[in-house]
């Protein structure tokens, strides 16, 4: 199982390093690599269908009980297959789409990194491991959305998605920890065997987990990042924002439903929020002019339907949700890809100007047609069966959950209407001509037929194949039936054997479907008044969550400016003064309060000089300080400081701390050199003003030094007995295989700390570079 994950990560790095050298065909290689992963995952199907899921465990920190635990059961296998199959299609598509674009290797790296994170998410057994992958999907999504980083809207959209999903992520972390503590285990495999309704922390866990799921799956009021995320290149929208990442929240809800379902809180929240989101998304999609934004709102709506379905506590609910999840991924992924194709050829996504696509782009149109039919829920697509199942489910409801029926119906009506818009009007009816097109048409040869110019096969094949898959699976549901049965078996206590056949007779659900087609057509037919009504409604968007987000960010910005201006005014001396004074106050107050100052002020330790040259460091330090205070020029002060530093280093050497001493010498040298360079660059005639401030500085420094001395000498009296010294000294040679305790500690015993410090060091270097280059850039461009 972990091999799938490892290969996926490997493909990502492969793309990063080698893509530029191959002029693009490496994209196909990684695509087929992903297909290989899909086929490999298929081999698990027979086993899983037997009911034999299994766990894999790899040691990470066994002593803490934290290990890489992976779980294979029908739910994770379903998502595994979904992600790898879609990965294959998207990567193929993306290879052709990204031809010639700059830094495409970065794109593929992030995309496959995302896919790997998604795979890890669904395969994890340990809930915190899943959380890590959850956050990794957010991060890689950020990089993908803001890929065109020269565009302001891409950057802000990426940031928006990151902030919203991370907010949910933090809540999710808290919820998962509470959940683990409540159940007593941090493994999904054990959690799903308990139900937590009635547990004192149930409500808290529920709220936190919901926050996580709702932010990731774009439910109201956290839905606003998804349409803005359309600033990403189309392969990203097709993969992340229709088929995989937004489904992660749904996955989480499905995963945890055995543990958390069964209460009114669970059902009502999911049904109402999901249903409302479904209707909101559908309504907001109608007025959209940008094809991708329209599809984004429909995705929000479909996710709402899925959330709503999960909330309905029926054995049929999860099965229906699954089915619809699959169907939606198929047609939405296909539609996004075709949107990308149209964008590439027609250079616009504005639906007013697009038209007659069938004439110019026949292959893409075929994909659009199939996907639109699926979206409307036409037989024999699997989407039809899924829609029927959802209706069946909704019709069984009574009481408040009839809301689900209303939500499903209204949303599906809109889908049908949009499907006509895309499947008929876009393909066969000419669009409005923009002004430039009109004049261009007059200038070009009169009577020349519009050329058939479509995208390369790698771009129209995936959506077409997806459409065909939707068709085939609908026709031969036996392919997937045992799968869904097994999944539902795991998730609920009882299940109805899914009847996935196309025709059930004139059931209420079927009648409802017919009504959907009718009303969908009516909406399309009377679209102008519908537009107007919705337009009026959405004038209220200044009340909406997106404006709230924008205003919150602005306030945060101005708040931080105010604070920064007060505390950090750009003068290094002020920062140091603040730090030192604060330390003095804290230490001083603590010492005074607990009466830690020595009763008599003579020092406990006797200062003995065994050899005459041990006096030398003190001489160096004292003379350094005197030189410093006499400051004649900056260079002299610098040398004085270094003198003090070398004196301290000599002390270390004398007190048998050779590693520290060497480090001190070297660091002192480097800082001396770097400071000299900086001094060299500063204006020559700047002189230090000797003012009263000078004496304040001296006073602070002196008090600080004296206080530190007291602290250090009093620490000698309060030494805590610990075995650490013994442990390190005696274990260095046998276990660390070295004689140098300090070094062995750095790179072996405490290597984790060193690793963290290395990362910080590198980040510091990057930060310095960014700051200085930014200043230079600003100076040069003023």
């Amino acid at each position: 199982m972990i091999i799938v994950l490892l290969i996926s990560f490997l493909l990502a790095f492969l793309a990063l390093f080698f893509y530029p050298k191959t002029s693009g065909w490496l994209g196909y290689v990684v695509a087929f690599g992903t297909l290989g992963l899909f086929i490999y995952s298929l081999s698990f199907v027979p086993v899983v269908l037997e009911g034999e899921g299994w766990l894999e465990q790899y040691n990470w920190v066994p002593s803490l009980g934290v290990n890489l635990d992976f779980l294979m059961d029908p739910l994770s296998l379903f998502f595994l297959l979904l992600i790898t199959l879609f990965g294959f299609f998207i990567l193929t598509y993306a290879t052709a789409y990204m031809q010639g674009k700059r830094q495409a290797n970065r794109f593929f790296f992030y995309l496959i990194l995302f896919m790997s994170a998604m795979l890890g998410l669904v395969l994890s057994d340990h809930i915190l491991l899943m959380y890590i992958f959850w956050e990794l999907t957010s991060v890689s999504s950020y990089f993908l959305i803001s890929y065109d980083n020269h565009k302001e809207e891409a950057r802000s959209a990426g940031l928006q998605a990151l902030l919203v999903t991370n907010l949910g992520g933090l809540a999710l972390l808290a919820g998962l920890i509470l959940l683990g503590n409540a159940v007593g285990s941090f493994h999904f495999s054990e959690i799903i065997q308990h139900n937590l309704v009635g547990h004192p922390q149930y409500v808290a866990i529920l709220c936190l987990v919901f926050l996580g799921a709702f932010t990731k799956s774009a439910q109201f009021p956290f839905h606003f990042w998804l349409p803005n995320a359309m600033a990403a290149p189309t392969p990203v929208s097709a993969f992340l924002h229709s088929a995989t990442m937004v489904k992660a929240g749904i996955f989480l809800l499905m995963r945890l439903s055995p543990a958390l379902s069964g209460s009114e809180a669970w059902s009502m929240t999911l049904v109402f929020i999901g249903g409302f989101t479904a209707m909101l998304g559908a309504a907001m999609s109608v007025n959209q002019l940008d094809m991708k934004k329209m599809l984004a709102y429909i995705t929000i709506s479909a996710l709402g339907m899925l959330v709503c379905a999960i909330g309905l506590e029926e054995p049929l609910a999860l099965q229906a949700a699954f089915l619809y999840l699959l169907a939606h991924a198929i047609y939405k992924g296909a539609l996004f890809m075709t949107a990308g194709n149209i964008d590439k050829i027609q250079k616009t996504r504005d639906l007013r100007y697009l038209g007659n696509i069938f004439r110019t782009m026949p292959f893409t149109s075929a994909g659009v047609l199939l996907a639109s039919l699926a979206m409307a829920g036409m037989p024999p697509f699997i989407a039809f069966v899924a829609k029927e199942k959802l209706y069946e489910l909704a019709l069984e409801q009574s009481g408040w959950s009839v809301f689900a029926l209303i939500a499903f119906f209204l949303s599906s009506v809109v889908y049908a209407g949009i499907a006509i818009r895309l499947g008929y009007r876009l393909l066969f009816v000419p669009g409005l001509k923009s002004d430039e097109e009109d004049s261009a048409a007059e200038e070009s040869a009169i009577g020349a037929p519009k050329q058939k110019l479509d995208v390369p096969p790698a771009m129209w094949l995936p959506p077409l194949v997806l459409g065909v898959i939707g068709l085939t699976v609908g026709w031969f549901p036996a392919m997937v039936k045992p799968f869904f049965n097994e999944v539902a078996d795991r998730m609920t206590t009882s299940h109805k054997d899914l009847d996935l056949s196309m025709w059930h007779g004139w059931t209420p659900a079927f009648l409802l479907t017919l009504a959907t087609y009718l009303f969908g057509w009516l909406i399309y037919r009377f679209r102008t008044p519908v537009f107007r009504v919705l337009h009026q409604l959405f004038k209220f968007d200044w009340l909406g969550p997106e404006q709230l987000y924008n205003r919150a960010l602005e306030r945060l910005d101005s708040f931080s400016v105010v604070i920064t201006r007060t505390i950090q005014n750009g003068q290094l001396t002020k920062y140091l003064k603040v730090i030192f004074v604060l330390v003095i106050l804290l230490l001083g107050i603590t010492y005074l309060k607990y009466d830690l100052f020595p009763a008599d002020w003579n020092f406990q330790q006797e200062i003995k000089f065994r050899r005459i040259y041990e006096f030398l460091p003190i001489v160096m330090i004292v003379s350094g300080v005197i030189m410093l205070l006499n400051e004649s020029s900056r260079l002299t002060m610098l040398v004085a400081l270094s003198l003090i530093g070398y004196g301290i280093a000599l002390f270390y050497a004398m007190f048998s701390a050779p590693d520290v001493s060497m480090t001190q010498f070297l660091v002192e040298t480097i800082t001396l050199v770097v400071f000299t360079i900086i001094l060299h660059r500063m204006p020559k005639n700047a002189v230090f003003p000797r003012s009263r401030r000078q004496y304040l500085v001296i006073a602070i420094a002196t008090v600080f030094g004296v206080l530190m001395t007291f602290v250090l000498s009093s620490l000698q009296d309060f030494s805590i007995a610990s075995d650490m010294k013994e442990f390190y000294v005696s274990n260095t040679a046998p276990k660390g295989k070295g004689e140098n305790v300090v070094n062995v500690m750095l790179v072996d015993f405490r290597a984790f700390d060193t690793f963290g410090e290395m990362a910080v060091l590198c980040m510091t270097a990057l930060g310095v570079m960014a700051l200085i280059r930014l200043k230079t850039y600003r100076n040069n461009n003023l």
């Binding site: 480097i670 050199v673 270097a765």
Partner: protein, 135 residues
């Protein structure tokens, strides 16, 4: 800073710096030294070279790409840390081979870690120095 004396001297001294820094690196496990100290030694040498000849020349002569250095160094430490997972041990377990290279020591994941630290510190310090000098 571009004095002839410094230019002539540093060209002779850099190899010595380098050898000494490598010596400190590999000796660190048993005697005072180690990755960080070795890295600082060679950084000092290269900073002097930069002061004498300028950043561009230094980068060209020694083929230094500071960002790549930091990345490679960090990556090597990461590998050194996670190598042990593949043998089922858990991460940050040290793996020791039996190959003893005279003058260098026993090959191990710990050594890989230390070398990674070395490269990363050289990269980071040089990047800071180069950026300041270029500004």
């Amino acid at each position: 800073m571009r004095t002839v004396i410094l230019q002539a001297a540093i060209q002779v001294l850099i190899p010595i710096f380098f050898i000494y820094s490598l010596y400190l690196l590999f000796r660190g496990h048993d005697s005072p030294g180690g990755g960080f100290i070795g890295a600082l030694v060679i950084s000092i040498g290269l900073v002097f070279h930069m002061m004498a000849f300028g950043v561009a020349k230094t980068k060209e002569v020694y083929k230094i790409d500071t960002i790549r250095f930091t990345a490679v160094g960090l990556f090597l430490t990461f590998i050194g840390a996670t190598l042990s997972i593949f043998v089922g041990d858990g991460f940050f377990h040290a793996l020791w081979t039996d190959i003893k290279i005279p003058g260098v020591g026993t090959l191990s994941s710990v050594m890989l870690f230390d070398v990674g630290v070395y490269i990363a510190v050289v990269g980071a310090v040089l990047k800071i120095a180069f950026t300041i000098f270029e500004e």
